[in-house]
Amino acid sequence: MILTLQTPRPLSRLPRFLPFSTNASITLNQSQPATCTSPPPPHSQILSTRHSLLSRQFSAADLLRSHLNRLNLTEPHLRSFLHLPDPSDLLAQADSLDRRIAAGEDVGPLAGVLVAVKDNICTADMPSTGGSRILEGYRPPFDATAVKRAKELGAIVVGKTNLDEFGMGSTTEGSAFQVTANPWDLSRVPGGSSGGSAAAVSARQCVVSLGSDTGGSVRQPASFCGVVGLKPTYGRVSRFGLMAYASSLDTIGCFGSSVADAGILLHAISGHDRFDATSSNQIPKFISQDVPNFLSHFVSASSFESKPLKGLRVGLIRETIGDGVDAGVISAIHSAASHFEELGCSVNEVSLPSFSLGLPAYYILASSESSSNLSRYDGIRYGNQVYADELDSLYGSSRANGFGSEVKMRILMGTYALSAGYYDAYYKRAQQVRTIIRNSFTEALNQNDILISPAAPSPAYKIGEKKNDPLAMYAGDIMTVNVNLAGLPALVLPCGFVEGGTAGLPIGLQMIGAAFGEEELLRVGHIFEQTLENCRFVPPIIAEDIAS
């Protein structure tokens, strides 16, 4: 029991724009039972897609056209994508799928599912720039393992999404090419660095998307955009094809509009890869191989018992609900804690004294590794080369011209931290802190089944607000970096609203699990999501634009 809990403010549960108008995702929902008085809980768009394709309710081409219509309406406002393939290429893929379905062939569990991919994840048939000028126009000769696996299961890649250059940033303003807007309020940032992938799912520009999370780059934008974001355990998903930022922290994560979708996508892309020596041999056991069995894990809300999470021990991290965190965020998290109690959990505050050490340790380690990982962008073999008479000038000019200021700053910081005479004081010390943090999480997770916290200390802020204040921007990562340092899985799902924009701004709840404990996180997240009443996390831009 938490004695300090405040009475939940009604605003934290109720968005102001109810009800919203019909759109494709709602149409797909017709097969599911919905209560009349309150909006239905989010459903799996992947399962709906499969259902409508196999029942011949819609063709893949129908679904794709509906998607392209919405994309044409929303993309000029959002600018989520750095690259969109020729629609005729996508239609050809959809037609091919339709022919296979008509012929009665087996299609993969992701057949016809429209996936957006963050642009720092390599795709062979589309440019992959990492949001950087230095790789402008670069086309990799191979698909990242995660992309390859999703494609093999039938997914259709609908485009490459915007990001802060090489994943370094928390607003997507650090992209060398464009700024992406938050679908809930176009004057606000979508978060970052996977802002494009989060905005695309939020505005239903795709069904699910891939992002990368080094210090919170999936979870914070999920929170800002009101979608589900899943950062898997380090090693769960192959990093092969992910442009390295900080190798020991980087993970590929998933966005979806429901926990089920994030889970199904994770299942598709996870598992050992012989091209990534740090990928785990552990067989993904959290979801079984095929979609029918998946359904048994993600039962519908109507079949829950009265206390479906009875006995679950939930630890609320005390350090995440104190100074520097918006009152509205704290309130939403307390409401979420109450909701957990209603579901039968015991909720207790836990203290992680090392929590505040995470931020400096993270920025030292991430900068150090990035200074090394970005050495390969030297203008010799690929990317932009600036002609020079001397080798050093060629390097200097190519890199000065190709990298943005945030990337340069982190390379400089990392180079400094690894230099002779400073290594022990910075890099080595940060590694020691990392060990302390990992141990404190292990201990807290021995006493609790999951830990909860906000995903970010504030809701989405205004574009430009923190652009010239890197320290303020770094401070916003406080909720998430510790999880990367500990290598643990975390699920962010929208749990409430605060005032802002035209319809309120979503707040994300972060649930942290034990290493390779994604199954439990997804189970708990699904029940939480399905039982959260009066909350529909569909941004106004869809309703408004489609209505107009």
Partner: protein, 546 residues
């Protein structure tokens, strides 16, 4: 087996060669630069055994009042089927950028996965060098920018190398004064090779060939235990012998599979503090190791004697084979900061004791042990060094002796006629048609008097070039020695009868003509007459009727 996290892989289903990228101007990466540190990669000089001719110069060059301190860093390119961290093969001399993939090109998003053979080879060499093996080691990144280094860092081992604190035993050849030496080994570590720069005369650009990028290397660092060029050259030759015995590298210096960088300093005898050390590169044969060091010692002693020891600075010097001297390549060594840190893309290298023990028990007989064994067989040190120099020759020798042949006789055959044949025909002992079985047969046939030694040599050349068996050749060419006295007597009688004039001269005192008669008998018997019997019978006949 190793309870490790590394894996070897050989086939890449997806490894499409990214031709769109590598055809950046005519199939090779190019960049325009006037590089100050241009390294020529084209030295194709003859690798020789430490040659005897250099020795005379050395002796009078080594000053009595100074002592040289020499340490060697050796890079051994491992002969694994694939590179250290990807599935590409490496074949020396193949077309530029023909054996590369996204991983060894360092494309964005690519990751290294360790080839487990690299560990196996490192453990083999570490054990053979009598080192302590680190059961728990790791890889680090050594960071610097150079166009032949695709990732901007080299994957290497920094503070925890896989093997440390060993030693290497060397026998100095008799012609260089002989004796046994033990040189300390500081460390052995694993790392990857870089690509190559290709410079075209008169052009303002350089080209990059990444075929060699990512090829596994073992770097062996010696203690500063050597004192002369010969000792250093013999150390390097022993390393070559060792890697060839172990089968971990072809040890070919011309192809760069074995590269030596030496550090040389001098100090007055009796002084314990080391002098300023100078590094010498571009040593492409054992004899250049020897000559470069002796030149450098002489240069430093000269400066010291002239009171100009402050002109001996820490620098890298290049051995100029043409001018037979060392020249400054770059100064201010020791200031480079490589910003080493643990490689986060590779798990720690964890070996089990069983894995190490298994490799230990599978090691072949090493050169040092072999030399001691041959010595105990009563062979001379010259024989010992020759036979143990090449493990294939040693195996041939051992196989012949194992059949029961006399060791000294076998050694003589191998070192004289067989070695000469191999040298002339440029063949290795595995390529000649002679087998140990037939060499044994040959030696036995001579010993048993079936054939004469002279016939034996003829048969040997037949066996070397065409093969076959001793018995077969003897039968085919009717070469069996005539040991029947009656038959020899017949021939002797005929020769005497045919040469009445010479017989008369002989009997009148010109006894030297006995040789003439013997030659005629041998000729008539087609060389098959047993020489002992021939002479005995001939003498009797020549003298009996006088």
């Amino acid at each position: 087996m190793a309870s490790t996290i590394f894996r070897s892989f050989q086939v890449h289903s997806f490894m499409l060669y990214p031709t769109s990228l590598i055809t950046r101007r005519n199939g090779v990466f190019r960049f325009t630069t006037k590089s100050s540190q241009s390294q020529t990669e084209t030295q194709q000089r003859q690798q020789t055994k430490v040659s005897q001719s250099t020795q005379s110069k050395k002796l009078d060059k080594i000053p009595k009042d100074y002592e040289a301190v020499i340490g060697i860093e050796t890079h051994v390119q491992l002969s694994t089927l694939t590179k250290a961290f990807c599935g590409c093969p490496y074949n020396y001399g193949s077309h530029p950028n023909s054996t590369i993939c996204p991983i060894c090109m360092g494309l964005p998003g690519s990751l290294p996965v360790l080839n487990s053979k690299v560990i196996e080879f490192a453990v083999k060499l570490g054990l053979a060098l009598n080192c302590n093996l680190a059961l728990n080691s790791k890889f680090d990144r050594k960071q610097y920018f150079y166009p032949d280094l695709p990732k901007g860092y080299q994957i290497s081992q920094f503070d925890v190398p896989i093997a440390t604190s060993g030693f290497l035993d060397v026998d100095i050849p008799v012609e260089f004064g002989g004796g046994h030496r033990r040189f300390g080994i500081t460390r052995v570590h694993m790392e990857e090779d870089a690509g190559k720069l290709l410079h075209t005369e008169g052009e303002n650009y350089s080209q990059v060939d990444l075929n060699r990028a990512g090829v596994p290397l073992l770097e062996i660092v010696s203690e500063p235990d050597m004192r002369t060029g010969i000792e250093a050259a013999e150390y390097a030759a022993e390393i070559q012998r060792l890697v060839r015995y172990l089968g971990v590298s072809n040890g070919n210096m011309q192809e760069g599979s074995l590269r030596c960088d030496v550090n040389v300093s001098i100090r007055p005898i009796g002084q314990s503090k080391f002098g300023t050390k100078v590094e010498i590169k571009n040593l492409n044969s054992f004899s250049s190791v020897n000559r470069a060091i002796d030149y450098e010692i002489a240069r430093q002693v000269q400066l010291h004697r002239e009171g100009q020891e402050d002109r001996i600075v820490q620098e890298t010097r290049l051995w100029e084979e043409g001018a037979q001297k060392t020249i400054t390549m770059r100064k201010k060594e020791g200031l480079a900061d490589y910003r080493y840190f643990p490689e986060p893309d590779l798990p720690a290298v964890i070996l089990s004791q069983e894995y190490v023990d298994d490799i230990q028990s599978s090691l072949p007989e090493l050169p040092e042990i072999k030399r001691r064994r041959y010595e105990n067989m009563g062979l001379s040190m010259q024989d010992v060094l020759f036979l143990a120099n090449d493990n294939n020759v040693a195996d041939f020798f051992d196989a012949t002796v194992a059949k029961g042949a006399d060791a000294k006789l076998v050694a003589n055959w191998i070192m004289s006629d067989i070695a000469a044949f191999m040298k002339n025909e440029k063949l290795t002992i595995n390529e000649i048609k002679l087998t140990p079985d037939e060499l044994f047969e040959l030696i036995a046939s001579i010993k048993d008097g079936v054939i004469s030694g002279k016939i034996g040599k003829e048969i040997l050349f037949e066996l070397l070039s065409k093969g076959g068996t001793v018995k077969g050749i003897i039968a085919e060419k009717d070469l069996v020695q005539i040991v029947d006295p009656a038959e020899i007597e017949k021939i002797v009688d005929k020769v005497i009868a045919d040469n009445p004039k010479q017989l008369e001269q002989y009997r009148s005192g010109k006894t030297k003509l006995q040789g003439y008669f013997a030659g005629q008998v041998m000729k008539l018997s087609k060389g098959k007459a047993n020489p002992g019997l021939l002479n005995k019978i001939l003498l009797e006949k020549l003298n009996s009727k006088s």
